[in-house]
Amino acid sequence: MSPSQPRLQLDYFDGHSARPQAAEIWLSDGHLHLSAGAEAQYAAGDVRWPERQRHGQRQAQLPDGGLLSCADAAAWDAWAQGSGLRDSVTVRWMQSWRRVLLALVLLLALVFAAWRWGAPLAAGLIVRALPASVEQQIGSQALDYLDQHWLKPSMLHLARREQITKRFEQLVRASEPDRPPLRYQLHFRAGDRQLGPNAFALPGGEIVLTDALVELLHDSPDALQGVLAHELGHVHHQHGLRMAFQAGLIGALAGLVVGDFSAVLAGLPALLAQQAYSRDFEREADMQAYQMLGRDGVSPRVMLQFFERVAAIEARQGAAPQLLSSHPATPERIAYFSQ
């Protein structure tokens, strides 16, 4: 033992008795030496050393259950430094405001990247790995649920329904002549006033359209086909399942940050992210509708009629602001289909 090694006076608890013992410690040749009545030594690597902090007591846990406790944190830190005990990288980061700010910037960048690219990428991988049968089962269960609680059978004439279905088959075949056709199924349903003129796609290719939508576009069958093509875009890109997984991942991410604090606060970013993702999906689906109509020789401008009529309904009922909306603003969509 070299006399130059710094020594520290502290309390020692042997792990069997609650009585503190005055003790002296020093480090030499990779061992912690303890002098408290009797002497003992421990390999420095077996000791659980405290992390350096500004506040709190310093406690070192010995492998035999003993505990060194030093109330004078500054004295401990001086001793540890003089003895050559090094802070871990993590501790050095935590003790420097500059690096903490850097960590904060990295953190925000990471959260943004996870939101913008990470979650969509991961959700895409999961969805692609999922067997088609599972997706179809989820879709048909969702449809059953909607049929039980929201939707009523369609009142449209069978002939009219068949006409719409046939026309859509043509459109699909014309747009993808060399690829096997996408599995989809049109379902005609009547909804309540709240649902209004509407169409939506469920996982597995179930496309539901309401009687009110058919009525709204009764004089513009091509616009109706455009809406259906938009829904087929959702089916094609598996948007329903992607959304479930993306929102789930964002919810888990938010839960990591503030979840143990407030479930509402954790749910809010998930909700906002879901709306933003939804607008991305709508743009993708619009692109599909634009292409399908174009390949069939129909001008995409037929969709303008649909937007005008929906805008008229929205003006009567009042629309939600963009941040809370699941669709891109109508002028943006009108501009897209006017190209």
Binding site: D11, S17, A18, G56, W97, L110, F261, A319
Partner: protein
Amino acid sequence: MTTLTAGISPVLAPAFAHSVLPDLATTRFKRRLDIEFTGSGSEYFRIWVVNLLLTLVTLGLYLPFAKARRLSYFYANTQVDGQALAFHGNPWRMFRGFVLLALLMLAYGVAGRFSPVAGLIAFGLLCAVWPALWRAGLQFRLSNTSWRGLRLGFRGDLIGAYRCMLPTYLPAMLMVVCQFLWAPRGQQPPEDPAFYAVVTFGPLLLLFALLPWGLALLKRYQHGGYVFADQQTRLSASIASFYGLGLKGMLVSLGPIVLAGIGAAVLIPLAQSGALSKVAALVFIAGLALLAYLLFFVITMSYFGARLQNLVWCKTGSAALQFDSQLSARALAWLNLKNWVLTGVTLGLYRPFAAINTLQLRLSAMKVTVDADIDAWVAQAGAAQHDATGEAAGDFFGIDMGL
């Protein structure tokens, strides 16, 4: 050494101050142990940021290590009678428990997504293992906490953990069974509305009515199992006192509900009268609802949080230890309001400051009186290591030590 005498303050009951000297044999050691929390918000903020960054970079795998660091910091800053608590949990053991539980939760989440029946089965399984996990979590946390070099412990038995969940579990099971057997299918109205109301709301009412009883059993089990040296605590609070807390809490929560109702009654017609545009009215009403929601939770949660801590800890004691808690519900409500608003405004960055402030308030309300020579206390044999899965489960479900 200063640490040996710090915080010693003899407790003299008022009666003793005027009458004859007390019997020395029983009160020679009687004194109050001060509890002091010295954690700092700005320091915990730095720990939190680095922990969070590492957790995100490792896709969550760092979580148990971050937790061990967080607990070590909290414990090193919790001084009882001048000696800090110490956390001994091995992060690698905690990691194993964390992975196990994460897989369990993943299976549970996936099952629910694919089929309601599978989800129901998974839920049932989770309920079946939950009390055992909860007990394992208490064992792990306590046996990895030490004060003055002695490990604490938890001595509640497995059957007890299941027994104290019964008042919650039985009505919940009844509810599931009733829903499964008699819930109306599709859009056709129920054949017998009265019967339907009974089977739907009966179990719910039962669950609600038994809630205080369940909480009492839960806390009795929890606070009846804490061990330090040869001291085992017990909770002497009556079941009636939990019902009292529940009733008072309901009365307190009526305040914000009535206020929100009055606000809605006055403001919604105003908004509909055409003074505001549709969008402005929507935003206005949403903001009002958010405010009412915030106020409701600040008031009721603070009331329950403070009063439950006081009820439970004032009645917790062992042969030589007596705990006391005088937490003001009003102080907690103000702190919660401040914490929530600032956490929201800073998009979560205030979170570590909020955690430190809350601990500070809750711990400074606590006291322990001891009537024995602590120096003479020794560890009991068989302070074993325990499984960390329960600890992780406690985190997932937000179970804490009631403090």
